[in-house]
Symmetry: C2
Subunit: 409 residues, 2 copies
């Protein structure tokens, strides 16, 4: 019986486990420090009060319960003994025959880690509820603030980074200010809120063709979002942001979507890392010199050509690695992993999106329906799909966002 | 314009605000330290992973948004200046003509406040997610525990207090162990879990007739819950509980539902308090000697006859106080508050409940349907009703509980 240990229950790790499920001669242990899988593409909906954490999470145990050769373990991986083929945990260890590492990425402050406290990023459920509390807390504080200038700072929301996460956050904030909270306050109009999306590069959504980036920018403008490109951030503090060109913007809510850094577990493999901390792997997703160790998803850098840090890459690599382990057990050689790019989607607010399928491109309401359909279809677990559909149908009809809770101690 | 300040957005405070909404010559400010109302009767569903926090919460601002004479304020009340007619906040103050205090209650450890850290009670959303994390965390730890005795302690759940909260928690835990988690673990069977409900009095659910209490006890037994009556708790620590008769039960998860104590705000009024810290009020819910100050709900003790600490009491008092303020503005005298007891319900697990409407009593599945219907009807906000209904319909059909997340840092 070959024992496969998978580190991480994200899109990549789950895909490996499902691929190896019910396979003869294989026992799988999936270890994660959380007891649930997070559907990361919808985290921004939790951060903006549209969905609840449980709507976009699925308990790993229930996802994997049907597969009797798969065991789930809640545990914190602290390191690896590659020669001894053991994964080290904070409270024990796991011996393996094959090891798959798919621990994902965190946000990245490019050497300014002190900014994290004032400009949180969006990678975990706790990040999302923290950001939700900050956004709603700023509106609450504005209601009580008699000083016009301080109120203006409270109602200024700065999003750093014009990638999909930044665009989705900015669009949804525009919606919240213009629609959701319209009737809720007595001492100011929520439309007074300024939402500013900052991008250091020449335009937003650089992964998309220029025409779709422009369409997204128009959609953001119509939601009241100001897009500022070509200028970076020089400093962030609790009172606001200083831009690279010296401009100072007073803001009490700065959100960070500007960069990602691979899980620090990669550094514990003693292998080559790229600048973002990703492990450089072979074309077959293996650790060079260690045929029994695979690294995939946001943690892995393919030699030469980087792949985008999106769910489809992790899922395709996960299925590939599951099959590769089966092939190795039969003594077969491995073909290199090939990423099949099925297209790229981003959403802006409640009824606009852009879609890029190579020759076929679209933007607007139809692209949004497509985005909605694909995201609901991919949500892990049947219950979540029904629930999220009900939430969204209701949200769409009512402009309401029911999960507007400021929680935490 | 008479300014009414309401402290607390629970069932009582909201009922006052709604009653005074759209009333001429009245401006209302409702202040709460949370931005949402909690439907407390369903907190145990959040604590056991059946519902998400947002399913049983409604943002106070959206509930009160339609009423233009009502203002909502997120703020922490620190005291009162009754002579100057001001409410003191941590960051300001509010002048009032009429003051309504409805800040509810917390759990009570009868002088053993140090037990709270090891035996949390269930009064807030954070309590519920904390308890959810402890229950699920105990099962996770048991999966990794090779020692049989320690595993037994991890799989022993002790609930202190045989009132409705204790019974609901114990019943739902029985369900979780016997159904929900059935397929989820590899190194033990979840049915091995021991769930023990402790009650110091001679029987559980003393607010109900003895025959219904006995029916609830039978329903608990059929869910695998052991009910121990007539014995109190002498000591609680991280390893377990020592009972009044000297018996020691090793348990890593102790939940507290044994007593309540009124909000400490009551003590800041300089008025008479009862043993549970409740403010002794006149038959018209007023503070003796202060006709413009009303205290209601779990914080108030009616002279002579205490009322149960349930939502209907707070809601009826809230409507009464709203009308009373209207009457005072017209110079009318007040009639005493009369509580109309419409009946009493408690639920045990997924398909049993007991109902007491005086002469008409019932138990079993029909009582459960009635319980379900009434609780969904009373849920604040249309969206929550639809959502909770979908959750429950799905849970009922699938034995699943999708909100099984261990969150928090």
């Amino acid at each position: 019986m070959a024992h496969v240990v998978i580190v991480g229950g994200g899109f990549g790790g789950l895909a490996v486990a499902k691929r190896l499920a019910r396979q003869r001669g294989v026992a799988v242990t999936l270890v994660d420090r959380r007891n649930f899988h997070v559907f990361q593409p919808l985290l921004y909906q939790v951060a903006t009060g549209g969905l609840s954490p449980a709507d976009i999470c699925a308990p790993l145990r229930s996802v994997l319960a049907p597969y009797k050769n798969v065991r789930t373990l809640l545990g914190e991986v602290t390191g690896f003994d590659l020669d001894g083929r053991r994964v080290l945990l904070s409270d024990g260890e796991l011996a393996y025959d094959y090891l798959v590492i798919a621990a994902g990425a965190r946000h990245h402050y490019f050497g300014h880690e002190e900014w994290e406290a004032v400009a949180p990023g969006l990678k975990t459920i706790e990040d999302a509820t923290e950001i939700r509390g900050r956004i709603l807390g700023a509106f609450e504080a504005a209601e009580k603030e008699p000083d016009a200038e301080r109120r203006r700072a409270l109602l200024t929301f700065l999003i750093v980074g014009g990638g999909p996460t930044g665009v989705e956050l900015a669009g949804t904030l525009g919606e919240i200010a213009n629609d959701t909270l319209k009737e809720d306050f007595r001492s100011f109009r929520p439309e007074e809120a300024r939402i500013i999306l900052l991008e250091a590069g020449p335009r937003i959504l650089t992964a998309f063709p220029a025409e779709l980036g422009a369409a997204a920018e128009r959609a953001l403008l119509s939601l009241g979002v100001r897009v500022k490109t070509g200028v970076g951030v020089a400093a962030v503090d609790a009172e606001g942001v200083t831009l690279g060109d010296g401009e100072r913007i007073a803001s009490r809510t700065v959100l960070w979507g500007a960069g990602v850094k691979a899980s620090p577990l990669g550094a514990k493999l003693g292998a080559e890392l790229d600048r973002a901390g990703r492990v450089v792997v072979t074309p077959t997703c293996q650790l060079p010199g260690r045929a029994e160790v695979f690294v995939l998803g946001d943690m892995a850098a393919r030699q030469g050509q980087p792949l985008p840090g999106v769910a489809p890459v992790a899922m395709q690599q996960g299925r590939y690695v599951g099959d590769a382990i089966g092939a190795l057990l039969l003594g077969k050689a491995l073909e290199p992993f090939v990423y099949l790019d099925k297209g790229n989607l981003a959403t802006i607010g409640r009824a606009a999106a852009i879609a890029d399928f190579g020759k076929f491109r679209m933007s607007g309401f139809l692209a949004w329906l497509l985005w909605l359909f694909i995201h609901i279809m991919y949500l892990v677990g049947f219950r979540n799909r029904v629930q999220v559909f009900v939430h969204w149908a209701f949200q769409y009809l009512s402009f309401n966002r029911g999960a507007r809770l400021i929680t935490g101690r």
